[in-house]
Symmetry: C2
């Protein structure tokens, strides 16, 4: 069998408690004995049994990361994994481990959630917003299980979350365009029912009002997940009696088609039309011209989620609800330099 704390104690001529205290750096052990014990541990090639330790301590140093992990997810939603890496990078430093838990359609989400909040395997969890339903929210609150949601839930509960401020993202894009002289801006979004679209449009509109930028009827359009339709939308916008002098695309895939439409329509960037998209991507390097984007550091978002969760574990009363990661403008060749306020 493998060597245990008992073997070390016997060999070093001390009690089990002493060895335990050496392992955990208790201050009440003299440096002399501590060193002797450590030496013995090395000699025996002893490693503490973390299973036993976590059982005894009633803490596992394991955290769950709940997200949809079905086939093809990485390509559909790379951010998810970047968030995971960020979260891991924080908690790892504090000696926690991150365990992935699938909550995609083919998994029994409610069951696994129930296991997690009451199975005493995990000390806490980070949950990707898309997995949250009111039922699950209630479960978490009832059990008072340490958690951080990525993304503010649509309904109000007492749940803790971190998020990026999508309204602000919309504002940043609009303000940049306004600052570089654009006076009439179109917005090509995904779907009117999406939270992301709604909030970014909201930010865009608030800046429009503030800067007295016209947003005529029909300047806010939706691709409804058919990115290619961005081409037609843009062509039609260009043919308007007074076409927009700037367009904000909600994603890069749409932007590719919009750029093509602009090229085919003979519009020069940024002279005739400026363009801003969201979420920088390696893809950007393949686009021509390379677009100005409003980017979010999703790794950092995960990092902040990890930090928030450990805070919450230490102090379960904490009510954490905050926009931790700010958007950042990366200017490339589809917009003119910021010339104004």
């Amino acid at each position: 069998m493998s060597v245990s704390i008992k073997d070390v104690a016997t060999k070093a001529g001390v009690s089990i408690s002493t060895v335990s205290k050496v392992i955990n750096n208790w201050p009440t052990i003299s440096e002399a004995t501590a060193e002797r014990v450590r030496e013995t541990m090395r000699e025996l090639d002893y490693t503490p049994n973390r299973r036993a330790a976590s059982f005894s301590r009633r803490a596992s140093w394991d955290l769950a990361f709940l997200a949809p992990l079905d086939k093809g997810r990485v390509f559909a939603d790379p951010h998810l994994f970047e968030i995971m890496c960020g979260a891991n990078s924080y908690v790892d430093k504090k000696n926690y481990h991150l365990t992935v838990v699938d909550v995609s359609a083919q998994s029994n989400t409610v069951e696994s959630m129930r296991d997690i909040v009451s199975g005493q395997i995990f000390d806490g969890m980070i949950v990707h917003g898309s997995a949250i339903t009111p039922e699950i929210g209630k479960l978490i609150i009832d059990k008072n299980f340490p958690h951080i949601l990525i993304g503010r839930p649509e309904f109000e509960t007492g749940l803790c979350w971190v998020d990026t401020n999508h309204v602000l993202e919309g504002s940043v894009a609009a303000r940049h365009l306004a600052g570089s002289g654009c006076r009439s801006i179109a917005f090509i979004a995904g779907s009117p029912s999406g939270k992301l679209s709604r909030e970014r449009i909201q930010g865009f509109l608030s800046v429009s009002r503030e800067r007295r930028i016209s947003v005529p009827e029909g300047f806010i359009r939706y691709t409804q997940d058919d990115f290619e339709s961005g081409y037609d939308i843009m062509r039609k916008l260009l043919k308007l009696p007074s076409p927009p002098d700037a367009v904000i695309c909600e994603n890069n895939s749409t932007a590719i088609w919009v750029l093509k439409a602009l090229k085919d329509g003979g519009a020069a960037l940024p002279e005739d039309v400026s363009l801003v998209t969201f979420d920088d991507y390696p893809l950007s390097h393949l686009m021509d011209p390379k677009p100005t984007v409003v980017d979010i550091d999703v790794f950092d978002l995960g990092f902040q989620a990890g930090r928030a969760l450990l805070q919450k574990i230490r102090n379960p009363e904490l009510q954490i609800q905050s926009y931790t990661t700010l958007p950042r403008l990366i200017q490339r060749s589809t917009t003119a330099s910021f010339s104004g306020v």
Copy 2:
């Protein structure tokens, strides 16, 4: 405090052994008592403490997934995460959990490896090939720790691995082109030192010999990670006295530039030149024309790794070294239909 097996036993009027046996579906308990115990568990809202169980059983049902998880990794290597999802999808069904462990440059890989193989936290591990050095390989073998590597290691040890057969990928690409009538094929690879390039080229060459396809000096070229250089390489190939009638690109990013070069050079696809790339990607939908690719189901690769690991855990003597996932050709508009053998 939370409710334990003891509370259930008392309330149901049985011994704790009986409750334990009910939980673990031992056959020696009558259905009548079993149901009574289950009923009591429901009443008390009891969930077995998995920490205690795994301590007592000396098995945690936790598996480690070791891979580089540094910032930007998702975009640099999305396959990694698709593999992870695949592995999780298998082991999850068998009630195992997957825990991520960073082995990127900023982590102390050897240390975490040592912890894992002797800390008794994990029952096994899946290791992304890039993390393996001879030193680490030796550590794993010495401790005889259940493991599966993703990717055959470059040096021979007794380590267990699953991989896709890159040689075969090269063959599939070449055979498809040969079958559709191409007689002179160029290969634009990444770097001569890369295992991926080497093996795919090897497969390509073996088919070339077999089918007597000419591969003149200079038909095998390297972008050296500068994808954009694919443009110049292709332009020059086109200007040759006898240019290739097909080109194999090792990745889609290069293919984008090669396609542009073909378009600018006035070559029609697939009439003048055929093109095949590797690794299908959402990106493909943005390319014009859409390329024929030799694809590997990396989700399945992860899935097979999960399966292999659980086999290995059950039977530690097993020597698992196999190419589990076969390449698959997805024909699109850059090649003519397979017309030959």
